[in-house]
């Protein structure tokens, strides 16, 4: 027989029941972007190897990155990189023991996300103009 007094105890709420604080989202974004960059960096190694290998390999790599899927991957990779850099700069500021109060922490979390998207768009608009 189950112990009813045990089962009637309220369960402690887990993360999904709370409204996400922006700082939690920024923290998760930092780790998730890190993992994407970790896996995606093999594409950069592939490109470097193709350049060292010879003209045919390089043309093949250029062709792959030039497809719509290649562009999509590069765009997402840029965004992940910019978001991670913004998150990193947030950590640099904290390293000086500044910006640790709640309003500033919230502001920096929002700024890191706006900055990540903004930098990505600026970079890609510059690339499209250069082309």
């Amino acid at each position: 027989m189950t112990d009813t007094s045990e089962s009637r105890r309220p369960l402690s709420p887990f993360v999904q029941i709370f409204r996400w604080p922006v700082t939690m989202a920024a923290s998760l974004a930092h780790r998730i972007t890190a993992m994407v960059l970790y896996g995606g960096s093999i594409l950069f190694a592939f490109w470097l190897v193709s350049l060292a290998w010879g003209p045919q390999a390089f043309d093949f790599a250029t062709m792959l990155f030039g497809t719509w899927l290649g562009w999509l991957v590069l765009f997402v990779f840029t965004w992940m990189l910019m978001q991670h850099i913004m998150g990193g700069i947030r950590h640099f500021i904290w390293d000086t023991a500044m910006g640790l109060d709640k309003p500033t922490v919230d502001l920096m979390a929002r700024a890191s996300m706006i900055g990540g998207i903004g930098l990505t768009l600026i970079l890609w608009i510059a690339v499209l103009i250069a082309l």
Binding site: M35, A52, F58, F92, A126, V127, A130
Partner: protein, 125 residues
Amino acid sequence: MRTMLSQVRGLGSAKEGTESHLIRQRITAYANLPLMIAFILIVVSLIGADYDTARARIGNPIVAAIMVALVYNVTTHMRIGMQSVIEDYLQHEGLKAAAWIANSLYTGGLAVVGILSILIIAFGG
């Protein structure tokens, strides 16, 4: 009651405390910022470039030096970062050890392949 610090050092999931890795992750992060800005400028300058142009640019001594530093620094940063993630999410000791080894092989492999490629580009081959 307090436990001597010397008795608890190294008892975390990383077995060596946060000392070396926390600081090293920060130092590689600081170095990554200017290196990454330089890298983005190099890559943007190579958009639409043909093979000879790309090879000449990456083979330029200063660019090659930046690239080698970038590959070494980024792969170190990646290895420490992934090690922390493994420590956080994997509890099984054997699985954790296997993941650590895979992490070292992946990041070490990328470092070797990347730096070797840059050297071949720089010195011909």
